[in-house]
Amino acid sequence: MSNRLISWFKYASPQSFYPLAGRMIPWFWALAAVFGAVGLWISFFVAPTDFQQGEGYRIIFIHVPAAWLSMFLYLIMATWAGLGLALNTRLSGMMAQAIAPTGALMAFLSLWTGALWGKPMWGAWWVWDARLTSALILFFLYIGFIALQAAIDDARRADKAGAILVLVGVVNVPIIYFSVKWWNTLHQGSTINLAKAPSMATTMLWGMLLMALAFWMYSIAVALTRVRAIILEREAHTEWVKALDEVKT
């Protein structure tokens, strides 16, 4: 077995991941602040007024990052859940549990900002269109996962039940992503597409990408902080937790 593989597994144990996460958190906060500051500045002061939607389009700078993150965090959560089922590692379930509330927040923000954008542009806060409905289902999947985990007392069993729910729900992510292509939706098609050049002004694109990076760094920072709390809660009676400096003082 190579050294690399050994060190990888080393950080898969809560005991060694706890201090590592603690060291990484300030960096992710710093990156989130920098990307967020530049992103907001571009969003409001550099990006031009849209010729069709006026200033109302500026909601895009949080709507798209929140929507991306809600899907992306779900995939990361499903990956951890799958690893937990396959390898039976303790940290995996804790990571999935730590990501879920932040994912739910992003899903909520995408729906909320979407409603506030839909009202002035479409004339409706909500329509039962494929994109909106599948995004709402994603929000319910997060809530369902959180509720299911909270309802089972035994943490390891909660992880397993939650993992199955999350893995079944993965089918919804491509449905959200391709919904604007598969069905005739009121929601506009994707602005950014891997296959062709983005159909928006360069400064708008940069603002959106920087805001997405800021949301991404924020999510990592919050999820790592939460996983540290979860590690302490679950490993409360182990010797290594009792030996921690922050517990001894």
Binding site: G54, H63, T102, R226, L232
Partner: protein, 60 residues
């Protein structure tokens, strides 16, 4: 620069309710979440410290 005056900036070309309603709620939630997570961390640490104190008192 898109804005002639601060008032123009806050008016958002007539979309103030929608733009500030989006950014405002987003800001509030993204400030609240880290605070709540921080409280969760400090509450479990408080419990662990108390348990340690109790153990020391019981087995001097």
């Amino acid at each position: 620069m898109n804005w002639g005056s601060p008032a123009e900036f806050f008016a958002m070309g007539g979309y103030a309710l929608y733009v500030w309603g989006s950014f405002g709620v987003c800001a509030v939630l993204m400030i609240m979440e880290p605070i709540l997570v921080g409280k969760r961390q400090s509450s479990i640490l408080r419990i662990l410290r108390r348990e340690r104190q109790a153990e020391i008192l019981e087995n001097p």
